[in-house]
Amino acid sequence: MREPGIGFSLPVYALLAGVLVWPMAYVFYLSFYSFHLLTGQMSFVALHNYAAVVKDATFLSAIRNTCLYTSASVTLELLLGVGMALLLHRPGRFMAIVRGAVIAPWALSPVVAGLVWRMLFHSNYGILNYLLSLLGVPMGQLQWLSTPGLAMVAVITTEVWQNAPFVYVIVYAGLQSLPAEPEEAAAVDGASPWQIFRFITLPQLVPAIGVAGSFRTILALREFTIPWTVTGGGPANATLMLSIYLYRQMLQFFELGRAAAVGWIMLLLTAVLAAAFVARASRPPESALTQ
């Protein structure tokens, strides 16, 4: 029997097709062409754009950097976010103010966050090096933004500072919805606080952590603003992310075909990782309650 509501859904499908499916299909189509925006010349090159990108050492280094950046920042954000949620999920006199304050970084524009942290990490005028100098580390000894390894630490720190509150908000909401009875029953049965957390609270939080983790993974994989404003991808390409590589192809070189190929590679990478996260998050939680 024909669904009566299908006709009403058609405009939504049409809109989605127009703003999502068609652009994606067009970008896919473009990825098989050499198309320079300024000259307007367009010629079919089959898989050449993909081959050129995959052979480019800068692209491979961007993939490595993006994976390192994403895995490190999402892990730290989850640890910090869950920790903050557990700490702040208890009654207290000033808890409302504290809960509001910890999400402040998340409310800040990433450009502002990036520029502020760039100043904080400055070798000669940064407050971080100033504080270290009080501990005996000479000013300028640590060149945060000029040393490849330290520059990655700097961008990850900025990313974690800004986005751990997002994980906190999701996990805190999850904690609020948990029933108190299982924890109370476990306490009566003599379980230690750690056992209660490990075997009762944490398993029930897995779906919330999974949601937060998958969101952060997807967003960190395509993160542009923070690495761009803090280091610009340097030094020596040590913080060059896929998004910066894509930006160069698209808006600095105007090589739309190559940019389209990079965009599709990024999409596939994101889809695979996001699917893995969603699959993990949708597994039923293992807990004492379900055993």
Binding site: L145, P235, F253
Partner: protein, 439 residues
């Protein structure tokens, strides 16, 4: 199963297919009309010019724009966009054939010839409406905006060339002389170096255009040439290129520059000179004004300026440093091309070039550099004019210039970060650039 209909049943209020089609038709018509209206509204009407430009021009032209409106009735509206968004927006506007802007500013080193078909050549307008004292306009700057067809595509508006900025008080105190050779410059840097309070030099080694800007001053003055005359081969890994790069990187290795050279940009350079962290540098000439600004600099009045040193072995008679200039382009799609050109000719006449220079601009007329008011305001004027004569604009505006620039910056930055030797840097640049030129 559907039940019998009753009064007020929602199914009675169903929207018919005809209604949906009519609504879709109306929406389509409305969007067509509104897009046409937006297009009409976005094009500048007669009596108003729209100018896509960098925020710096808001500061240096502010009073002049008010005067221009009073004198001619033409309002010039600025759309100020900082880098790197400015170049992107400018190129997207030009390539789309948009008539939104009548004037578009970008620096010469970011202009590429492949956009020329979208730009109005200015030669015809110049002939029919000659600017005031055309021979006074700096010929070197004008030549930078000529295309391969010899036509003039951009109008110079803000010039700058790299010169030596040094702490005159320290030079006097230590009895140092203004260096004429790189050897003397290094000797001065060693004498002035007193880390961590003060360093003998400053280099911009960050992974964007600034590393390339900075390095070129050393490279040209070692006698280096970027490309072969036919633009097919990269000559950066010549003997001069290796020596220049080794010399440039040696300041980092010997700790003669403040920590953080691999992320240092133009604003760091200005701050280092203002705060006394660096005692000398080869920097852009317009920076002399903020470096010497009594409100911002701890050492205002204690600076000196001169042309950059050269390598005596190169056989060069004159110092040749990187020369760059902001140009204004008139899009071919503009509806107010003549009015836009008239405005450019007016804003760069002798009086207005001086007024802009007094507001912090880099003049484009030779006569401005000799004006006593300007020399009082900018004591680096004489050194700047001398450096302008032999300034080198670097890479020609080849279509591959953006990619070449990114590659060179990347490699130079790797050298500053200690990841590559000078030889590896220039060899990798030469191989990469030659590959790009042949692609």
């Amino acid at each position: 199963m559907r039940g019998p209909r009753r009064c007020g049943d929602p199914r009675d209020r169903r929207i018919t297919r005809r209604q949906v089609l009519r609504a879709a038709k109306d929406a389509g018509l409305a969007s067509l009309i509104s897009s046409w209206a937006v297009k009409q509204a976005s094009a500048a009407p007669p009596g108003r010019l729209t100018w896509l430009t960098h925020p710096v021009f808001g500061d240096v032209t502010h009073d002049l724009l008010l005067r221009y409106k009073n004198e001619t009735g033409t309002e010039v509206v600025l759309d100020k966009v900082p880098y790197p968004g400015l170049r992107e927006k400018a190129y997207l506007e030009l390539s789309s054939g948009s008539d939104r802007y009548d004037l578009i500013s970008i620096t010469q080193d970011l202009w590429t010839w492949d956009i020329n078909a979208r730009i109005e050549p200015l030669d015809g307008l110049m002939q029919s409406l000659p600017p005031e004292a055309p021979s006074d306009l700096n010929a070197r700057l004008l030549s930078m905006f000529r295309g391969p067809d010899g036509k003039l595509y951009g109008w110079p508006l803000r010039s700058g060339v790299f010169i030596l900025h040094y702490r005159r008080d320290l030079y006097e105190e230590m009895k140092l002389t203004v260096p004429r050779t790189w050897e003397e410059y290094k000797a001065n840097a060693r004498a002035l170096n007193k880390p961590p309070e003060r360093y003998g030099n400053f280099i911009m080694g960050t992974q964007d255009q600034f590393a390339f800007h900075d390095w070129q001053n050393y490279f040209f003055n070692f006698g280096g040439k970027l490309l072969s005359p036919d633009h097919r081969r990269c000559l950066i890994n010549s003997e001069q290129g290796v020596r220049a790069t080794e010399y440039w990187l040696s300041f980092v290795k010997e700790n003669l520059v403040p920590p953080g050279a691999a992320s240092a940009k133009w604003d760091d350079e200005i701050a280092a000179m203002q705060q006394g962290l660096a005692a000398q540098t080869i920097g852009w000439s317009p920076y002399a004004i903020p470096i010497n600004d009594p409100k911002k600099s701890k050492f205002s009045g204690k600076f000196g300026w001169a042309v950059a040193p050269v390598d005596p072995k190169s056989g060069m008679r004159h110092s040749e440093t990187f020369l760059t200039c902001w140009g204004v382009f008139i899009p071919r799609a503009s509806r107010n091309k003549e009015a836009a050109y008239k405005f450019l000719a007016w804003i760069t006449n002798r009086q207005n070039d001086l007024l802009m220079a007094l507001a912090g601009n880099g003049p484009v007329r030779n006569s401005t550099y000799a004006q006593s008011m300007y020399v009082r305001m900018n004591p680096a004027a004489a050194a700047t004019l001398e450096a302008l004569k032999y300034g080198n604009p670097g890479l020609p505006p080849l279509p591959k210039r953006p990619e070449i620039t990114v590659l060179i910056n990347q490699e130079l930055n790797a050298g500053v970060a200690g990841k590559k030797t000078a030889k590896q840097v220039v060899d990798d640049i030469a191989a990469g650039v030659t590959r790009l030129l042949s692609s």
